[in-house]
Amino acid sequence: MTLTASVVGASGFAGGELLRLLSAHPEFEVVQATSREYENRTVGHVHPNLRELDLRFSDPEGLESVDALFAATPHGVSMANVESYLGAAERLIDLSADFRLGTEAAYDEWYDGHTAPEYLDGATYALPELGREGLADADIVASGGCNATATMLALKPLVDADLLQPDDQVVADLKVGSSEGGAGGGAASSHPERSGVVRPYAPTGHRHEAEIEEQLGLSLSFTVHAVDMVRGAAATCHTFPTGPSVEGGVETADLWSAYRDAYEGEPFVRLVAGGGGVYRYPEPKSVAGTNLAEVGFAADGERVVAFAAIDNVMKGAAGQAVHAANLAFGLEETAGLTQTGFHPVGSP
């Protein structure tokens, strides 16, 4: 059985990664990759890694009928086109923020409202580590935000283990790569300006807070810094848990239990917390190019520091989307997602 797939927004960073994954996927076949700017050009014109792929960009106006439509378009495009997308495909896997939140009210609060709120109920948040139930046969899958993904993977075990309570203090300090800005980045993304930075670009009020609150029931303080890498998002979550399981303090061994319980059997979570050698805590470069999340922690008196590192274009976008699509279509969960990382590796 081969499933056909379209990628809308295929000239972008997340769209290009979808092409990389789906073209090597055992069950999917890419039949269409759209770009308005590069129509008729080979996909290798934009994505040099895919020069061997015999595929040209086509106009998003002429969608073919497929099993799965992956939309990797800027915020607003999917909600405007959801009807036509669902007309052309059995399932829509959307990488934008358009179907991540549950209610129109949330879009009013965090974004500029929603133009197709009637579809929100039918959408399922993609991140499988938060729960897989809703994903089987989902019509609309909403792939999570990259920064939200890293943050939630770091925090979820603390919530599950009754360590972290809804009102506990949580500060999430993120460090992210330049590919988060997408292929169309502006002046701040030019190499001379973006190189070597530690740049607080969303000191407060990042929109990813919204999905984290919805998914984990936590409210948190969120600050995002651009650092000098291309791929990668690293979350350092400083938490002050007061839940029932916190009695007489939290020890490292308690944290090992909590994190193992939460992620036992998860194919894409790797626990890294202390240990020896050079790589002792989660690092984005160890998982670059893969769908893995490294998750770790450290106990510090009343504080528990929780870490997660992902490749924003993979686990934070295209990989998560394919993972969820595998589940939605009832495929082998890890199909097409078994890439291994590199060592040594610079700043991928």
């Binding site: 992210v176 330049s178 988060e180 800005g181 997408g182 980045g185 502006g186 002046a187 701040a188 993304s189 670009y201 969303a202 651009a226």
Partner: protein, 56 residues
């Protein structure tokens, strides 16, 4: 040369002599981009935010 207060940090901003309504200046102290919304007397308002472009 007229002056007006920055709406963000309160510092005084000197306007160019030929300042016209609609022009943009930035506060020399905090850098906020300010639109000239009145010239006699000089008055400033925060310029339409460009932050959207700035972030990633």
């Amino acid at each position: 040369m007229s002056e007006a207060d920055c709406v963000t940090c309160g510092d005084s901003v000197a306007l160019p002599e030929d300042a016209e309504v609609g022009e943009i200046v930035d506060c020399g102290s905090c850098g906020t981009e300010l639109e000239v919304v009145g010239v006699d007397p000089a008055e400033l308002a925060e310029a339409p935010d460009l932050a959207e472009d700035w972030g990633e």
